[in-house]
Amino acid sequence: MTSTYLLPLLKIVVILNAVLVSVTFMTLLERKVIAWVQVRLGPMRVGPYGTLQPIADAIKLLLKEDITPVRADKWVFTIAPIVSMVPALIAFAVIPFDREASIFGYRVPLFVADINVGLLYLVSITSIGVYGIILAGYASNSKFPLLAGLRASAQLISYEIAVTMMLVSMVVMSGTLSMVGIVDAQYNAHVWYAFVQPVAFVILFIGGLAETNRAPFDLPEAEQELTGGFHTEYSGMRFALFFLAEYANMIVVSAVATTLFLGGWLRPFPNVAWLGVLDFVPGWIWFLLKTFVFVYVFLWIRATLPRYRYDQLMRLGWKVLIPLGIANLIVTATLKVLL
């Protein structure tokens, strides 16, 4: 009884809290990292070295006046941020932080659910996330957010294809759709898949950048272009929800990339026995470390690269990534059959 209902519930509570807190502090991390790249210091006033800045931001956003445009569709306007946030959060249900860990003497698997279509579940959740942007653009009842929303969702849908094809390549490599199964396959193959499938790795990462609307694919949010894009009319906590959803999506993409390509919770060289001295570091720490590396690369890229124009972005997705993805899939499948 406890294991079927209570334990997953507890895990959900823990993971949701962890995600929400880390997403809040990721706003600070982004500001600090970008500031250091730009020879500045970033937030320094609130708390020691600015570490309590997210709390100040949260309080500010909660206290802001909640403005709804006059002729906006009230229901759709309200649910758009929710529809953006929920898929980002429920994606964490299938992400494995470790196979098992001992917590207060109990052996607890560190994932909420290991469904046998885990990867497919993630893909479907991503496609639901598109709705938040479309609805936000529509509900603001103003032409710029509408156009920006449609553009953003077209971008997301296009890059979804490339990303899904890379996920399929990984499924072919590992023979299973379950996230835990993929990590096990990497353990059995004695190698992290990033070294076996570099093309898929790169395409997945680029597609992930586009899926989360991050630079250099952040045209929908670029202030210089369309004054705020699809969330122009949003203020206060609703605005915050969009941003938190974006950061949560970033973490999801990083976690997926970690699981698929960097061996999830496996330590470096998991089959080399004499490096077993590293085993005192629990698996979930390795997982979080690798995810953090990806998140850092997201922020680093934002600080460095200029922004693609919309048509160049679409051209990259359709004419470069998808053909490469198809080629990768064919080669993977052929080699898998032959070898």
């Binding site: 279509v117 579940y121 479907s124 496609s127 598109v130 479309i134 529509y138």
Partner: protein, 171 residues
């Protein structure tokens, strides 16, 4: 005990959302109720242990096709023509007649299939061998149902090429 409860709740939602789809005035709300409908149908698939089908329902239907509907609805900006009058005449009667015919047909099918048990052929595979729904669908699709699969992909290819040609600007 829990399963019938969940099923009937979902069924109520499905029917409810379906009714809302056809009765709502605002087109965008219609489409959103359709999405909710599809998500509930996906949950019913999960109940039936067809998890692959459930995910594909969400991925393709709710996440692809309905997004397309939304695009069209938002861009085309459908309005009721100002001189439209609700016709409570011929259309309603035709509608009722059609609904009655459909109901009779479905009841006939149910009665006849209850009287005659279904052939045991194709359903023998899945439940016992411990293989998930995805693998079963894959095996069936690429062995028994290969020709329909190829025909369907050819159809999709033609549709895609047609769409690209239609949308291309004249040079």
């Amino acid at each position: 005990m829990l399963e019938p409860l969940v099923f009937y709740t979902l069924a109520a939602f499905i029917i409810g959302f379906g009714v809302l789809v056809v009765t709502t005035r605002n087109t965008v709300h219609c489409v959103l109720f359709l999405v909710a409908n599809f998500l509930c149908v996906a949950m019913v698939y999960v109940l039936l242990a067809a998890e692959f089908l459930a995910i594909i329902q969400i991925l393709v239907y709710a996440g692809g096709i309905v997004v397309l509907y939304l695009f069209v609805v938002m861009l085309v900006n459908l309005q009721r023509p100002p001189d439209a009058v609700p016709t409570r005449g011929r259309q309603s009667r035709a509608g009722f007649a059609l609904a009655a015919v459909m109901l009779a047909e479905i009841s006939a099918i149910l009665v006849f299939s209850a009287a005659r048990p279904a052939p045991a052929a194709a359903s023998a595979l899945p439940a016992t061998s411990g293989v998930g729904n995805t693998e079963v669908v894959g095996m069936l699709l690429y062995s028994d149902y290969l020709v329909p699969f190829e025909v369907a992909s050819m159809l999709l290819l033609v549709a895609m090429v047609g769409a690209i040609i239609l949308a291309r600007k004249e040079a």
